[in-house]
Amino acid sequence: MVTQEDIWRELSTICDPEIPNLSITDMGIVADVHLDVEAGRAIIKVTPTFVGCPATALICSEIEQRLRQLPLREVAVEITYNPPWTTNRLSQRAREVLRQFGIAPPPPYEGTDFPLDLLREAVECPYCGSTDTVLQTPFGPTLCRAIYYCNTCRQAFEHFKPV
């Protein structure tokens, strides 16, 4: 018999297609796991990072494929915007994985409405640790990243921008 824990464990081994080792549970995009034990039915609710994120469909089909390997009769993956995903949903481990991958993690903030002033605050360079850094552009190679420049090690780096 499949339990909630089995499903969460399986989900925690599914990674973001763009950042290896960053699991979808650490990213905080699994909003809810509903399991009807008797019917053998699981409904997984995914709250996407950005509405237009092209990885969402891929992640959803990966979830479906993986959970079908468990003894379940029915697996459904649904998109929800409730609760809306914010960068505060990233776990401590997710932040560490991002840093190791060369992407500066977003600063935590109070509530669900991030203040734009966060963009003016120093972001720690993931390469040399310096905070003498400056925002180059709030848009980057993917929707969730901004580009900063480090004045100490003199190179550009990516920042997982707060939303």
């Binding site: 237009g52 929800t80 809306p84 991030f114 963009l119 709030p138 980057g140 190679p141 939303v163």
Partner: protein, 257 residues
Amino acid sequence: MRPGSGIVPAVKDLLYRMADDALILGHRHSEWTGLGPVLEEDIAFSSIAQDKIGHAYALYQLLHELGEPEPDRIAFFRDAPQFRCCHLVEYPNGGYDFSLMRHFLYDVAEQCRYHLLESSRYEPLAQLARKVRGEIKYHVFHATQWVLHLGARGTEESHQRMQQALEQVFPLALGIFEPTEYDDLLAAASIFPGERPLQDRWLETIVPLIEQATLRLPALEAVVPAYGGRCGIHTEYLQPLLDEMGEVIRSEPEAEW
């Protein structure tokens, strides 16, 4: 909201207006991909385009849940008279001055609209509104920075070109708020307060920013708003754009991607 209730056509009309604006402007923004004046701006317009098309998709998905066809069908198989976008989003990109000013006036309006929708009684739209808040914040941030920079801190030429762009875009932007036959119904049902209150809020937001950019907003009474889009009357630019957007999918509608 019960299917079949009298409010459904009003909600659908609101969703079509919002989604068609986002889809068409998203497509226009994407035309800067590879052509932006500097790499960062190329990426900015491309990213904003991707967000807008994502918002359009989410809104078409809500329409689908209300009984309309699948998002791809809605997006790529209608012709101009069935679209409900405003003229502002249809115009070709022109110069960067025009594109930036359109981006600024549109995104402030969109931010105000979604803000009002956060407390909508139509819960799926309220949830989407709370979701896109953070994304649109970046769009408005980008547009505002450039309008202030080129208006107040650039050169005489940049100031003059932003002023010209403002005069050209302002009447088009007023077309966002074209009144519709559903405004009263939506307001009475606490779904959306209406285009007029939205326009008021938009003006309150842009006036101080335009002043700060040392630009002059044309007098409201001296301007003829570009209405028509919300009832399916469009500029000559929309149909060729739709033909281009749908060219591949229409050539093989049953193809699997």
